[in-house]
């Protein structure tokens, strides 16, 4: 059973009354359990759209998106999944610990199970000292680490991350990359989108390259920079 499976996904957005923009076109691939999968492409390629479809935030016009063999629109499909959206605002009236508690409750965790896991996670992401601080006092990097922590609160089998490195300084990026590597060692399945090819090349087992909503490459990340350049040149010419 694949962790993620996408079959012939199409998605268009309305622009104005009549115009429609094709965001994703005939997208098909699968992510196997235990692999680190990079989803790369230039800005506006359809990466976030695909991730939103997977998380049930928006709906595909056509095709089939599944998480652990369940339709992704079904709440149960998300039970084994932790999600890191791209730069969301947090409930800034909560403390770091309260926010993790909230996330745990949404997964149906009891407080007893949650406390131990929350402390471990806060330590792992380096926020144990700041756990009782209100989120409005957190820096961008701290907020991003907390968003990752909330995605890991149930020790999920699959972690989906949308541009987890965007907006971070080099140290912040390094910390998140280290975290992804440690999750890989734990045997988690990780699906993350990025446009920073070097990071993808270092950590991923496989990558998918998407340009203007179409899958252009699927395989090992060895020559991803070259492939990316070629595809972008083709796209610029067209």
């Amino acid at each position: 059973m694949s962790a993620i499976s996408l079959k012939e996904i199409y998605k268009t957005y309305k622009k104005g009354l009549r115009q429609r923009i094709l965001a994703v076109k005939n997208l098909s691939f699968a992510v196997e359990q235990g692999e680190i999968f990079g989803f790369v492409g230039p800005n506006g390629a359809g990466k976030s759209t695909t991730i939103k479809i997977l998380m049930g935030l928006i709906f595909a016009d056509r095709g089939e998106a599944r998480l652990f063999d369940l339709p992704c629109s079904h709440p149960k499909a998300r039970a084994k999944v932790g999600f890191v959206p791209e730069q969301p605002a947090l409930y800034d009236h909560l403390t770091g610990a309260e926010f993790l508690h909230f996330a745990g409750e949404l997964y149906g965790l009891s407080k007893k199970n949650f406390m131990e896991q929350a402390l471990k996670l806060l330590e792992k992401v380096g926020l144990k000292e700041a756990m009782n601080l209100k989120l409005r006092h957190y820096s961008k990097g701290m907020q991003q680490r907390l968003v990752i922590a909330q995605a890991l609160i149930t020790n999920p089998e699959l972690i989906i991350m949308d541009e987890p490195l965007s907006g971070l300084d080099p140290i912040g990026r390094m910390e998140i990359m280290d975290l992804i590597k440690s999750l890989k060692e734990e045997g988690k399945t990780i699906f993350f989108s990025s446009h920073i090819l070097h990071d993808v090349e270092t950590v991923c087992d496989r990558v998918a390259l998407i340009v203007r909503g179409e899958l252009k490459f699927l395989g090992k990340p060895d020559n991803i920079e070259e492939t990316f350049r070629e595809e972008i040149q083709k796209w610029a010419k067209s």
Binding site: M55, I58, K76, P88, Y91, H93, F102
Partner: protein
């Protein structure tokens, strides 16, 4: 149910820490305390005017908290994408809607309760110290009933706010439509009375039919307004009160059902 309660708790905390909430609470608190002094300046029964101002102040407080916060907090969740962190969990969208509704209802009831206590203390003080020839009896029990029905009315308005927020991302649009519904709902009974009176005989049948349609479509908020009964100590009709209670609950439930249906199909871009 735990997930719904969890969303309700976060919504309650978020609302209570809104500066504008505290501002309105202080303003209405001062209005309630000052109601006796304002009544002193008026012609007529001082205590009745105190009660009138007090209960109107409570309505104003409830209206603000119910409509402004219900539309503002959901729009904020959507606009800042905080909602991604909630609905990406194994919860259904209707659970989010219900959680928001409960949180906002607790918040509104809490605000009205605080205002009601201030109002009762103020009223009691002016009742005990009134320098008038005939000090009337205050219908304390009916005030309590008016408080309960005011809360029910505000819960219905929260459901109106959530209904509009379920398909628009603009807090201003949702608030404006909700306010419009409030004004229509608060005046439906009066218009009905006018139409049934002699004045109504001159109104065209088409207009009358339109009004009948509006009467069934919009919430009749006058049914949940017991201010006059409390202030003037009017007799209670238990049957009507029971029906009004059922009406309020059913209308609220229906609005939440529609809101959940729409929100379930909404794309969260």
């Amino acid at each position: 149910m735990g997930k719904i309660i969890s969303i309700a708790k976060v919504t309650f905390k978020e609302g209570i820490r809104e500066r504008v909430f505290l501002g309105v609470l202080i303003f209405v608190g001062l209005l309630l305390i000052g109601s006796g002094f304002l009544a002193d300046l008026s012609i007529g029964d001082i205590l009745k005017v105190t009660q009138d101002i007090g209960l109107s102040g409570l309505s104003l407080l409830g209206l603000f908290v119910a409509l402004f916060l219900s539309t503002h907090l959901i729009a904020k969740d959507l606009d800042k994408k905080t909602i991604y962190l909630v609905v990406s969990k194994p919860i259904a969208r209707w659970q989010y809607i219900l959680g928001k509704f409960l949180g906002l209802s607790f918040l509104t009831i809490f605000a009205i309760f605080v205002g009601f206590i201030v109002f009762l203390i103020t009223l009691f003080y002016f009742w005990k110290t009134a320098k008038i020839y005939h000090v009337p009896q205050i219908a304390w029990g009916k005030h309590l009933l008016a408080f309960v029905y005011l809360n029910l009315k505000m819960c219905l308005l929260i459901a109106v706010g959530i209904f509009f927020s379920s398909f628009t991302s603009s807090a201003l649009v949702a608030f404006s439509f909700s306010l419009l519904i409030y004004f229509i709902g608060a005046n439906l009974q009066n218009v009905k009375m006018i139409l049934e009176s002699k004045v109504g005989e001159n109104i065209t049948p088409i207009l009358k039919s339109l009004f009948k349609l509006a009467y069934w479509l919009f919430p009749n908020l006058s049914l949940l307004d017991l201010k006059a009964i409390a202030v003037h100590n009017l007799p209670l009709n238990i049957g009507n009160l029971g029906l009004s209670l059922l009406y309020g609950l059913a209308y609220t439930a229906l609005l939440l059902l529609f809101a959940s249906f729409i929100f379930d199909r909404r794309e969260l871009n």
